[in-house]
């Protein structure tokens, strides 16, 4: 009974999901910058997957006879202070960066979205005075300082850095999900579902959540980019990946002592971070514009 009723409501007020995705892609495709972002992100994913095939040498292999070679003589991007090939390390760095951002953003979504959904759906004392006040307070901490402190408490290392970044992102996802849920829960189809006796849990999962996804999707893409910077920052400060690991951040940490003699040690990992983050930002902006009805023409 409820199946029939909800699908009728669905056809009246919103386009079927299939058509919506096609429309989304059509609008997205028209945005050249967004496509550029998508290309960068896909390239990064491919680099991460096929790192062993792309990199000319083992990123951790050290060659003390060939330290601090400039680009050209010492391979495409030169060699670092331990004689490792910078290009190979940059290629493998894509893996660590992608892994770190996926795990930290995944964690933030896993906690933030359900909390925002339930809190915004039921509202009341818990929402207003407990959840939102905690979110406000956590957001009062500067993001990087919060991530730094959590990583420090947990004991440092790449795994804990990812968790720390993820936790620091949670309030963002709570806030964005809740804001969307507050809008959606007042719409007619939610009232309709309620009037035919659909349970709260089912309304939340089948109706409110799917219609709250667009801004969460945008936030996810942008957060991926920011997580890459955050991982690099923690590793640069010595609280993320170990110095020997080919993480872009720890490469920059290593490069700090050689700024006067080996610019390439700092230049290339930084450019890699820049392009990766740019890719996610362009992609996020593109998705946002494709989803925004105001740009619909």
């Amino acid at each position: 009974m409820s199946e029939v009723a909800t699908s009728e409501v669905g056809t009246q007020t919103i386009e079927p999901r299939q058509n919506r995705l096609v429309g989304l892609w059509r609008r997205f495709r028209r945005n050249r910058l967004a496509i550029f972002g998508l290309v960068i992100v896909v390239l990064m994913i491919l680099t991460a997957i096929f790192a062993p095939l792309i990199a000319p040498s083992d990123p951790k292999v050290q060659n003390y006879g060939l330290t601090l070679q400039p680009p050209g003589e010492g391979g495409l991007m030169g060699t670092d202070s331990l004689g490792s090939d910078v290009f190979s390390r940059v290629v493998f760095g894509a893996r660590i960066s992608l892994e770190a951002s996926l795990i930290s953003v995944g964690l933030a979504i896993g906690i933030g979205v359900p909390v925002g959904l339930v809190s915004g759906f039921f509202r009341g004392f818990w929402d207003e005075w407990i959840v939102m006040r905690i979110v406000d307070s956590i957001q009062a901490f500067p993001f990087l300082i919060l991530a730094l402190v959590i990583a420090a408490i947990l004991g440092g290392g790449l795994g804990f850095a990812m968790i720390a970044i993820g936790i620091a992102f949670v309030p963002n996802f709570v806030r964005i999900t809740r804001a969307q849920v507050l809008t959606v829960r007042g719409l007619d189809y939610v009232d309709a579902a309620r009037s035919i006796g659909t349970s709260n849990a089912r309304i939340m999962i089948r109706h409110v959540l799917p219609n709250s996804l667009p801004p969460i999707l945008v936030q996810t893409t942008l957060a991926m980019g920011y997580a890459i910077i955050a991982e690099a920052t923690l590793s640069y400060l010595g609280l993320g990946a170990e110095p020997g690991e080919p993480s872009w951040g720890s490469m920059l940490f290593q490069a700090q002592s050689y700024l006067t003699s080996a610019w390439w040690m700092a230049f290339f990992p930084g450019m890699a971070i820049f392009f990766a983050v740019l890719g996610f930002n362009l992609l996020g902006d593109g998705v946002r514009e494709a989803l925004d009805p105001r740009t619909y023409d």
Binding site: S137, F141, P142, F143, L146, L148, V149, L237, N281
Partner: protein
Amino acid sequence: MAFLIRRLLLTLPILFIVSVVCFSLINLIPGDPATVILGPEASEQAKEQMRERLGLDKPIVVQYVDWLGGVLHGDLGESLVDNTPVSQLILQRLPVTVELALGTFLVSLTIAVIAGILSASNRGTWIDYVSTGFALGGISIPHFWLGMMFIIIFAVYLGVLPASGYVPFFEDPTANIAAMILPVFATGLRESAELMRMLRSSLLEELGSDYVRTAFSKGLSRRVVVIRHAVRNALIPFVTAGGLQIAALLGGLVVTEQVFQLPGVGRLIVESILERDFTVVQGAVLSVTAIVVLINVLVDMLYAVIDPRIALSEE
């Protein structure tokens, strides 16, 4: 007035939770905090002394009340490494961070306002493309890396500015400012990119609204319409955004201070974390966050002053 009082009261629960989080820092260390701080080789006696010193032998609520009582009297405890009062360490480092923050804010605001107005009022022209391209690049660049590039270009190759080495302003103002230029621009460019994007979009919204069309239709010049009408209104959401940006800015300075070896509060936090000097971390993080909360209250008050509708709607 009632608005201001309510706004101040609302910050109390935030400050309370912030203090609880900072307090719990030591208690949240997995395992035995004393072992983590002193290292596994420390004697049982030393660990016992450390636990007593941190007050870990008392019930947690008593610990919190003791600690908070101290904090409210300006006593943030002592460094676990050399017993210096934490408040003294912070006060020593604060001027550097404040100078950096003010400089960065000034630079980013100036760039953002100019670029934002230029790009919104010349939408679709090369000026717009250059400014939005700059902003997009700016939010994607890790600012500490930008700082490193500045060091390579301006200190190593051109040799026009120092790479590091802080000199207090009152000792040698010229050397102080010279040392601050690169860090301020490295952090400021990123912040300005974020602010510029916000200003551009809120200005575009204003420029598309009815009152702007009216202003144009009564024959006002473009300059007058943009500056006198649209910018004024566009600045309202921008002020709040700018306030929220302060937290990000202070977080960003932690890394900037590291790149340029500036003895500020951010560097104090990083150094203390690496030395496991958790009372200093606790005190410094609490101070920075309390400053952020208070700045946000001030921004909200400013918001009510420039846009009286806010205060009125809450009455």
